[in-house]
């Protein structure tokens, strides 16, 4: 926000920042970019049993202009990658990306001629979720980790960091976390 320019970097802007972060993280509007099997688990997460609405993220907006969290779920082929990038660029700042599942994170089982081996080659990803498909609880865990990221960061630094990161062509690793798969036997 442009508040820092107006008011300087002091307690007022910090409080407003944390208020803004609190509002953002508790009302994330996901943009589900669901392509394959992970999309079904994402739909299951949005449904009654694993309710994503508890975390404020029930308003799934298929319009990128109104979303701030993109959940890339499913395998991304070379035909789909430009579409993904276009949608990502249409999302307004600040935006976060969850790469759900093995295929979106790294190509998964499918090391073939047509699959992008991980969307982080082309997008900055904030949270990876392993699994094929990951359980809905993993997606909720990732959502909570994104909320933690939003809570901790300072917006301005994050934006600068992302810009330098893409120029260096090495993804920024400081903010990146992975979720752990749930322990067996849990439900």
């Amino acid at each position: 926000m442009g508040l820092e320019k107006l008011l300087g970097d002091n307690i007022i802007t910090t409080s407003v920042n944390s208020l803004a972060s609190w509002a953002r993280k508790n009302a994330l509007w996901p943009m589900p970019f669901g392509t394959a099997c992970c999309a079904i688990e994402m739909m299951a997460t949005l449904s009654g049993r694993f309710d994503m609405a508890r975390f404020g993220a029930e308003v799934i907006r298929f319009s990128p202009r109104q979303a701030d969290l993109m959940i890339v779920s499913g395998r991304i082929s070379i035909k789909m990658m430009p579409v993904l990038l276009k949608i990502y660029e249409q999302m307004p700042e600040p935006k976060w990306v969850i790469s759900m599942g093995a295929c979106a994170s790294s190509g998964g089982v499918f090391d073939t001629y047509t699959l992008v081996q991980g969307v982080d080659q082309f997008l900055p990803v904030h949270c990876y979720i392993p699994g094929c498909p990951p359980r809905p609880e993993s997606l909720l865990d990732a959502l909570m980790k994104i909320q933690a990221i939003i809570g901790e960061e300072d917006e301005r630094d994050e934006k600068e960091e992302m810009e330098t990161a893409t120029q260096l062509e090495k993804p920024a690793s400081a903010e990146r976390e992975t979720t752990e798969p749930p322990l067996p036997g849990g439900s």
């Binding site: 688990e41 449904s47 009654g48 298929f62 035909k79 789909m80 089982v109």
Partner: protein, 445 residues
């Protein structure tokens, strides 16, 4: 209201463009600087070129590949005049992963994990179809208990697919609750799948010669509870939609396919049966013990979206009957073929005695493994919830197949879409797409 649209087949005469320039045949990216990853130009088969009376212009509108109403990564390019669709063209391939090429590099046992990811709404049916194809390729007998288990789980998987298809079709025309309720019931099936196979969605449960492991102790109770719950849920779904004025108005008369046209276009499954043709692979060429069960093939007359919706509900009822009969029919016995050349031995056997260790080694290590006869080929068809799922496999005597071709039902269903929606409104196109149940994973592989 929409008039009945029949499928005409008069494409515009055009020269097919030359894709087969010999110099492009084997070049890679580095050698071909002109590669831009282009999408094909939409080609509209406009059957009558009448101009609008008011001189209205046509607009090209893109539905997909990222759109809430296209279930999966499909692209439909529409030429619309106002709200009315003049012509449509489709594009797929946004989820193409090269499964068939992978099959040429993965062993027969390994590729079963890939089959789940095709029709991910009903993974068990894909697994069963693939296992049956491999068993025909190898000439392996499957124990009866394994056959009955496959039937039970396939039918549960079919239930899960049908109710979600209906739920999503309902959501597309505005009945959002249907989708939420359908997913809740699907969770029950997930619980069952998790108890049996270990995962919710991508089961990979069948092995060549049987299934992975035996059922848990409380399976019978779990299954019966789910059957009871589904019976009441189907009643609920019926009461919400059948006789509902708005639902019927949205779905009746939309996307009509006649029986002969459906056959000509290669359409199988509930869509074919909703157009009046009673073809079901489970009855025509039974597999895995289906001939022992008493069930009907329901059909509908109209062939529109409403008929497809009702057809899926009717098939769910039949599936529940099959499950009840199969639960009674479940014999004791092994769940995996005893043939040591085909099935992996139990892990504790492998750790205890040397023959099992050698067999395990021979199965897994490269150069050994399951080796069908060189030159043997098979086309095996099973009835997946979408239609006839065919596996065509050719073996060259190696551990991985020489050619694996999956005949996906969705591709033929999606091919007929431009004809179905021509002349209707955009919202009718959504209603049609919802009931066609096109699963992108299966379409693109």
């Amino acid at each position: 209201m929409n008039k009945e649209r029949e499928i005409t087949d008069k494409p515009v005469e055009q020269d097919p463009p030359d894709h087969l320039g010999a110099d492009l045949l084997q070049k890679g990216l580095a050698e071909d600087p002109d590669y831009r990853g282009e999408h094909p130009e939409p080609r509209f088969f406009i059957t009558d070129e009448t101009e609008d009376d008011f001189g209205g212009r046509m607009m090209t509108l893109n539905l997909g590949p990222q759109h809430p109403a296209t279930h999966g990564t499909l692209r439909v390019t529409l030429k619309v005049r106002g709200e009315k669709i003049i012509a449509a063209d489709t594009e797929i391939g946004f989820l193409h992963t090269g499964f068939e090429k992978l099959a040429e590099h993965m062993s027969y046992q390994q590729w079963v994990t890939v089959t789940d990811r095709m029709n991910y709404m009903s993974a068990m049916n894909n697994n069963v179809g693939y296992a049956i194809a491999c068993e025909q390729l190898l000439g392996v007998e499957v124990p009866r208990r394994a056959q009955v288990i496959r039937v039970i789980l396939s039918e549960f998987s079919r239930l899960a697919d049908h109710i979600v298809c209906n739920g999503l079709a309902g959501m597309d025309v505005g009945a959002f609750s249907l989708m939420l309720w359908a997913f809740e019931r699907r969770e029950k099936v997930y619980d069952l799948m998790e108890a049996v196979t270990g995962t919710r969605l991508t089961t990979s449960y069948t092995r060549i010669g049987g299934v992975f492991r035996d059922l848990p102790e409380d399976f019978d109770e779990l299954a019966k509870n789910i059957v009871e719950e589904f019976r009441s849920f189907l009643e609920e779904m019926r009461s919400m939609t059948i006789g509902n004025r708005i639902f019927e108005d949205r779905m009746r008369g939309v996307g009509v396919i006649r029986g002969e046209d459906a056959i000509n276009w290669g359409i199988t499954g509930p869509i074919l049966r909703a157009s009046g043709v009673a073809y079901d692979v489970r009855k025509a060429m039974p597999y895995s013990g289906y001939e022992r069960y008493d069930f009907e093939i329901p059909t509908q007359e109209d062939g529109d979206s409403y008929a497809r919706f009702v057809q899926r509900l009717a098939e769910c009822e039949q599936s529940l009957d099959i499950i009840c009969q199969a639960l009674e029919d479940l014999p004791d016995g092994p769940v995996l073929s005893e043939d040591k050349k085909i099935s992996l031995p139990e892990k504790d056997e492998v750790h205890q005695n040397i023959e099992s260790l050698i067999h395990h080694f021979k199965q897994i290590m490269f150069g050994h493994g399951i080796l069908p006869e060189r030159g043997r080929e098979v086309y095996s068809a099973t009835e997946s919830p979408n239609g006839e799922l065919g596996y065509y496999m050719v073996s060259d005597g190696e551990m991985n197949s020489y050619k694996t071709r999956v005949r996906p039902p969705s591709i033929f269903h999606f091919a007929v879409l431009p004809q179905l929606i021509e002349g209707s409104m955009i919202s009718d196109a959504i209603a049609v797409l919802g009931t066609l149940n096109v699963i992108a994973g299966e379409l693109d592989r």
